[in-house]
Structures are given as C-alpha cells and as structure tokens.
C-alpha cells in the first residue's frame, strides 16, 4: 500500500488528515494541476453528499415513493375482437389442460395452492411503512428497495448479510415466497418466531402457515393456523377461514 497513492492523498486531504509538509505539497500541486483540482472538488462534493445521512435518508424515502408510483400498468381493450378471441382460445386450452392434468395429479395439492394464492398478499410495503418497524441498517434498507423493485434474488443477498436482523428475515421470507421457494421461506419465518421478543411474530406465523400450505404441508399449516385463530392477533379471522376451507377440501 502506497501512502503517497494519489487517491489516498486526495482522501486524506479532503478529510483533513494530511500533515503539514504533505498538505503544503498537495496544495501546491492543486494550484498547478487543473485536473487534480477538478477531481478533488468532485470527490469532496460526493463525500459531503454521502456523509449527510439525514439527507440520504430523505432521498431514499423519495426514491421509494417514486418506485412505488412508477409501476407499469398494461391496458387491454377487452372489447377488441382479437382480445376476445384470444381469451376464448386460452380458456379452451386451460379447460382441456386442466382436465388432462387432473388425471395425473391429485386435486388436493392444487386446491391448497389455490387457497395459498388467494390469501397471500404482498405485505412488503405495509411493513416498511409501519411506524413501529424501522431499521437503521443501510443494507437492509437497500434490500427493501430491491424487494419493492421485484429484484427478489438481489434483495435476498442483502438480507442474508444481516442474519440477526428480524426485519431482514421477514423480507427475505417474503422474497422467497415470491420466488415460490417455500422451504427457504419457512426457515426465515421460523427464525423470527424462535427469536421471540419482536413485533414481527404475527406476520412471521401467518406467512409460515401460508408457506406450509403452498408446500402441501397440511398438518403443519393446520396447526399454525389453529394457533393464530385462537389468539387475538391481526390474522385470527383469516386463519379461521383457512381452517374452514381446509376442512371442506
């Protein structure tokens, strides 16, 4: 490592770490070298911006709002003949396909997955907007932004670097659910539940139940939904509904 490395010298100059002789020499070079002066100015501005954490946080908030408002919406004219013909052919194909499939696989798994599908709601934005849930960890925040941008694999990598952070675990679980990797999702939710003292247990239990359901682990799913239904939490009514649906299945 060279102590007189140019970029290191710039850093030490910007952060006031140069000693007297070095400082004098550096300032002389700055006066002579316009490129160096430009680089120092740019680097100084960048460092000032980055180290202003309050401002960075505000920009992140604005970025999140922007991201959530720029999702693409596809408009389809349902009155168009082509669209109607296309939809009709899809329905016929689906009907034929479903008939054929039912000869090969049991109905139960499919309907469990249907139940899962009808109850799973992406709660990511609801969680990050909750006033009682916050994180000062920039990696977790970056992961949340990636999650909200539907970059689930990249988000998981961020959350993985914070294995003790329960918010990261919850988001990681949700990201795995989005990727339909329910075994991995289960692990994340179980960690939160076993961690006990945290405010995300309700969400963890609910999503663990849904992951079991999607994974066709009916016994485990029934047990956890029964527990949720017996408590006075946010999901007790829905858990009760799922138990009824499973019983009628």
């Amino acid at each position: 490592m060279k102590r007189n490395d140019k970029t290191l010298l710039i850093d030490r100059y910007i952060t006031g770490k140069l000693e007297d002789t070095e400082l004098w020499e550096f300032k002389t070079n700055l006066e002579k070298d316009a490129n160096l002066a430009r680089e120092v100015k740019l680097r100084k501005e960048i460092y000032n911006a980055i180290s202003n954490e309050q401002k960075m946080d505000l920009l992140k908030t604005l970025r999140n709002i922007r991201t959530s408002r720029t999702k693409h919406v596809f408009n389809i004219n349902i009155y168009s003949r082509q669209v109607q013909a296309f939809a009709a052919s899809i329905i016929i194909l689906l009907a034929v396909g479903a008939g054929l499939l039912s000869n090969y696989i049991g109905n139960t798994h499919e309907s469990n997955y249907d139940i899962y599908n009808s109850y799973f709601i992406d709660e990511g934005s609801l969680i990050s907007n909750r006033s009682d849930v916050s994180t000062n960890n920039s990696l977790v925040e970056t992961g949340i932004i990636l999650y909200e941008n539907k970059k689930y694999n990249e988000a998981i990598s961020m959350f993985d670097s914070n294995p003790e952070n329960v918010l990261a675990r919850l988001y990681s679980g949700l990201a795995y659910m989005k990727l339909e990797k329910f075994n991995q999702a289960e692990k994340q939710f179980k960690y939160i539940i076993n961690h006990h003292d945290n405010i995300l247990i309700d969400q963890a239990e609910w999503n663990l139940g849904l992951s079991y359901l999607a994974n066709n682990k009916i016994k485990q799913a029934s047990n956890i939904f029964a527990k949720i239904a017996s408590e006075n939490g946010a999901y007790n009514k829905q858990a009760d509904d799922i138990i009824n649906e499973l019983e009628n299945n």
Binding site: K17, A49, I50, L59, T61, L62, I65, T70, N129, S138
Partner: protein
C-alpha cells in the same frame, strides 16, 4: 386536503417523516403533474420535480432560510412550478421558451418565488446524481465509500469490515473508480439534456 398543519408538514420534511411525505405526494402530486403535462412534461418529469421541491424545502429548513409560510400548498406549488419553468426556459422545450412565469402562475404563488431557488436546484441536481450513482454500487462498496467519506483510515475500515488491509486498499480503489465512473457518466448525460 392535507390533515397536517404547515408547521407539522415542514417538520415532517425536515425529519424525513415518510407518512407526511407520502401524504404530500398523495395530495399534491396530481396538481403538479397536471401543470407539468400542460407545459410539455411527463409523469417522470413531475416525479423529478416533486422530489426537487421537497429537497428545496428540506434545505431551507436546515439552513433556517425558510420564512413564515401560511400556506404550504401555495409555497410548494410555487417551488415546483418554478423548477419546471426553469427547465423549459433552458431550452428543453422550444415552444415554451418565451413564456413569462408571472403570466402562468396565480398571483399568490408568484409572490413567493425566489431567485435563490435556482441555486439550490443546481446544487441539488448534482447531489441527486451522487446519490443515484452511490445507490448503484454493491452494498460492500457503499459501506466502504461511506467509511472513506467519514475519513476512516484504511486499517479501521479493514477491521470494521473484517477484510485484510491489502484487500481493503484494493477494494476501496475499485469502488471509488466505479463510483466516479457512474457519476461522470450521469453528469455528462445531464449536460446533454
């Protein structure tokens, strides 16, 4: 209508209260977008302007420059419209270059306009580029550059991140080069607009 008082809104912006900022968006973005679309802009432009408007108010609150504001909406709209007016006057949209700002703004909004906003916008454009470039880096690079910006010695960064000193030295160099490259590219793109 916003359910918060002007003082609560200003405090909310200063303290990065996401509920209040979201509420400003929900209540006022549509109006800003309509104005910008009327003068040649898009929803994306409106999102940019909304962000710039909030940042100007944040900076004014920070520096104590902000005067008594009785009507947040009027003040915020003045800033956003002034920002867009500057953009179109700077040649992005030829058909609007001869418009006089006073003619297109309600009198109570025009009264609040300050030339000092232009300086803040210019400075903030660069800060936005730095922020967006920084966010494109890997998490390791972000962390490392943040420590560099705080003035930490390589040895301290290495210890904090559990890397060897030699690796930290190399990685720091790579991260900085990458950041400068992205920043330069974005600044050049902005200058071309």
């Amino acid at each position: 209508m916003l359910q918060y008082t002007t003082q609560e809104i200003l405090k909310g912006i200063l303290e990065n209260n996401s509920i209040i900022i979201q509420s400003i968006y929900d209540n006022y973005f549509h109006g800003i977008k309509k104005f910008i679309e009327k003068f040649g802009g898009s929803k994306d432009d409106a999102l940019d302007v909304f962000q710039d408007g909030i940042i100007v108010i944040y900076e004014q609150m920070k520096s104590g420059e902000i005067k008594q504001i009785s009507n947040f909406k009027g003040y915020f709209f003045s800033i956003c419209k002034f920002k867009w007016f500057n953009t179109i006057r700077n040649g992005k949209f030829e058909e609007f270059t001869n418009i006089d700002f006073e003619d297109i703004l309600p009198a109570f909004e025009y009264k609040q306009v300050s030339d000092s906003w232009s300086e803040v916008f210019e400075k903030e454009n660069r800060v936005k580029v730095y922020f967006n470039s920084f966010m494109e880096l890997s998490s390791t690079c972000q962390m490392m550059i943040r420590y560099v910006a705080y003035g930490w010695a390589i040895e301290d960064i290495a210890a904090e991140m559990n890397f060897s000193v030699v690796y930290t030295y190399r990685k720091r160099q790579l991260c900085l080069n990458k950041l400068i490259e992205i920043v330069t590219q974005k600044l050049n793109e902005n200058n071309k607009l």
